[in-house]
């Protein structure tokens, strides 16, 4: 019986996990490092404990034991795919809410996981994993980190001359991000779509898939917009890919929530890419279209119970899209920005969900990933979901830290996005989404001028008005 869970993460995912735990009557325990002392996730939980690092497995397990927590939820990133961490939990009698340690280890090794999938009959992308280098005819190729994910330690290499430097640089980045400097080379599939399947497995041999998510809109190999169902996946293809995803999960006797990532080429052939043994950033679109709460399923599985649904019970209704809200300036090479959030007015209304790690007054520092939160919409059709997302982005006011809200609006407004013509090179081809209007309307100067010369170093007009000072001066 799980009564208290330590959430070994920060930001939006820590808060999202805590929401389900509270619905289940489970106590929540936050951890935080010094720069996060005043972070929203710390305030959102029953208890909180300062730690030296979100990556210190020993310290976090000790914190769980000392606080009387029964389990640890790792979220995504940080220690979520660290097998030694899962083992350390188990040996100290703490339930790790995720797959068994051996599954995490095997799937965390992108080289080993390819071997297992090939054996299980799941199609894989050709790769050079034994230190050999691809012949010149195979370029461009991708350099990938054996121990990584999320695009970190990944490089697209167009000529053989650049390969060694790319591998060295990827290796350094991989070592700092994952503590594993091994890299390998993989064939680059042109105009690929990124399609992944959500899977769930319990300890009673039940394995199901919860349909696909399309995550083809990426920058620097990281997803920024995700949706389900995929406009590229027919009912027949969904059946075949779903079967392959379940076969992949069964090959490792998967227990927990996980994701089987595939790439789909322009001729609708699919290849296993990797398996993520954790909750994905983009899991909400699956929840919006199925009614499942994936965190709740994770807790049930970790408690040794059966999945709450069978494959035949599952149906998707409508369409869901997620936009990742980042503190970054897309128009300036996606450079991250830092600062204090001065205005935070999220959108609301039917079919809108916001998973946010920040609120007004939150400080966004350079210490962490620039993801601020995720805006998710649901509507009966894809076209209606796009209209709803445009409206929601239009209504979303987040000032004080530069962010990508306007940029996301331009991306989903392109003709190709609306037609569902997506692939991972979408942003490289649609350079127009990086252009902002050159002329500023007179209305903007008017609005900027009504507050007058601000007396303090910084102020929002809107607060001055609310305080009554402005009208009385």
């Amino acid at each position: 019986m799980i009564r208290k869970v330590l959430i070994a993460n920060r930001g939006e995912i820590a808060i999202r996990v805590a929401s389900t735990l509270r619905e289940m009557g489970i106590q929540t325990m936050a951890v935080f490092t010094e720069p996060d002392r005043d972070a929203l996730h710390v305030r959102s939980m029953d208890e909180a404990l300062e730690i030296g690092s979100y990556l210190d497995a020993k310290e976090i397990v000790r914190a769980a034991v000392q606080s009387g927590s029964d389990a640890i939820h790792p979220g995504y990133g940080f220690l979520s795919e660290n097998a030694s961490f899962a083992e350390a939990c188990e040996s100290d009698g703490i339930v790790f809410i995720g797959p068994r340690a051996d599954t995490v280890r095997v799937m965390g090794d992108k080289i080993e996981s390819k071997r297992i999938m090939q054996k299980a009959g799941v199609p894989i992308v050709p790769a050079w994993t034994d230190g050999s280098l691809p012949p010149a005819s195979e370029f461009p190729v991708l350099v990938k980190a054996a121990g990584g994910g999320g695009g970190k330690g990944m490089r697209l290499v167009t000529t053989p001359a650049e390969l060694r430097e790319a591998m060295a640089s990827a290796s350094r980045e991989a070592a700092s991000a994952f503590g594993d400097d091994r890299v390998f080379v993989e064939q680059f599939i042109r105009e690929p779509r990124h399609i992944e399947f959500q899977i769930l497995g319990d300890s009673h041999k039940n394995v199901i898939h919860v349909f696909e998510r399309e995550c083809s809109i990426q920058r620097r190999h990281q997803k920024i917009i995700e949706e389900t169902p995929s406009p590229a996946v027919s009912e027949a293809l969904r059946g075949r890919m779903g079967e392959a995803a379940v076969a992949a999960a069964r090959a490792v006797d998967y227990r927990g929530a996980g994701t089987v990532e595939f790439i789909l080429d322009s001729s609708r052939k699919f290849y296993f890419l990797e398996m993520n043994t954790r909750l994905q950033v983009e899991h909400p679109v699956t929840e919006m279209t199925t009614g499942l709460d994936l965190v709740r399923e994770q807790i049930l599985i970790a408690s040794g119970e059966r999945l709450s649904v069978a494959q035949s019970d599952l149906h998707q209704t409508g369409h869901s899209i997620e936009c990742r809200i980042y503190a970054e300036v897309a128009e300036e090479g996606f450079r991250p920005d830092t600062g204090t959030i001065e205005v935070f007015e999220p959108p609301s209304g039917p079919g809108i969900r916001l998973d946010s790690g920040v609120t007004r007054g939150s400080i966004v520092s350079y210490h962490f990933d620039p993801l601020l939160g995720k805006l998710i919409v649901w509507a009966p059709t894809r076209a209606a979901a796009i209209d709803r997302m445009k409206r929601a982005l239009d209504d979303f006011v987040l000032l004080g830290v530069r962010n990508n809200i306007d940029f996301l609006r331009r991306v989903i407004s392109t003709g190709d996005f609306m037609k569902g013509k997506l692939d991972t090179g979408f942003l490289d081809r649609h350079r127009e989404v990086f252009e902002t209007a050159n002329t500023i309307p007179a209305d903007v100067f008017l609005v900027a001028s009504i507050g007058g010369a601000p007396s303090s170093k910084q102020a929002t007009f809107n607060d001055v008005w609310n305080s009554g000072q402005w009208r009385n001066s």
């Binding site: 970190k152 640089s169 350094r172 980045e173 700092s176 991000a177 620097r220 090479g333 450079r335 991250p336 920005d337 830092t338 600062g339 001065e342 205005v343 007015e345 350079y366 210490h367 962490f368 990933d369 620039p370 982005l393 239009d394 209504d395 006011v397 000032l399 004080g400 809200i405 306007d406 609006r409 209007a437 050159n438 500023i440 309307p441 007179a442 209305d443 903007v444 100067f445 008017l446 609005v447 900027a448 001028s449 009504i450 507050g451 007058g452 010369a453 601000p454 170093k457 910084q458 102020a459 929002t460 007009f461 809107n462 607060d463 008005w465 609310n466 009208r471």
Partner: protein, 164 residues
Amino acid sequence: MAEFMSTRELHWRAGKEDVSCRIDESQGVGSFHMSGTTLPFRILDSSHIEISGKRHRFYVVHRHDVSTVWLDGRTYYLKRAKRSIDAPASEVARGGDIRALMPGKLLRLTVNVGDEVSEKQTVAIMESMKMESSLVAPRTGRVLEIRFKPGDVLEMGAVVMVVE
């Protein structure tokens, strides 16, 4: 309540252009003058305004000399200009300065003071939000000065080194 009308003149820089405007208002009602046009306005509440009879939602944040304006779902950045339109543009970057492109930590220097560097050569590696990025020389020349050491935390725009 006092019924006096206040008048203010403001100067903005948007991109390369300087813009001067005047605003007359009393109790949230007034008119705005810019480039020969006059726009009547009425503030409805802390985030709604009527301009020439049309309603808009808005937010404004003033931070140092930059004003961020959110108007009807779009965000704009304006810089407050000096009183005189003829004032020189804000500090012009010197050609040989190599600046941090984002806030973050300096990981490594790949050159020393006195080294000859060529245009686009990598001179330093930074890390920001768990991502590495390279700083490159803007032109061929000799490294005159290095102002930071590995491990230092840099603000965006900080001059890391100067090339002759």
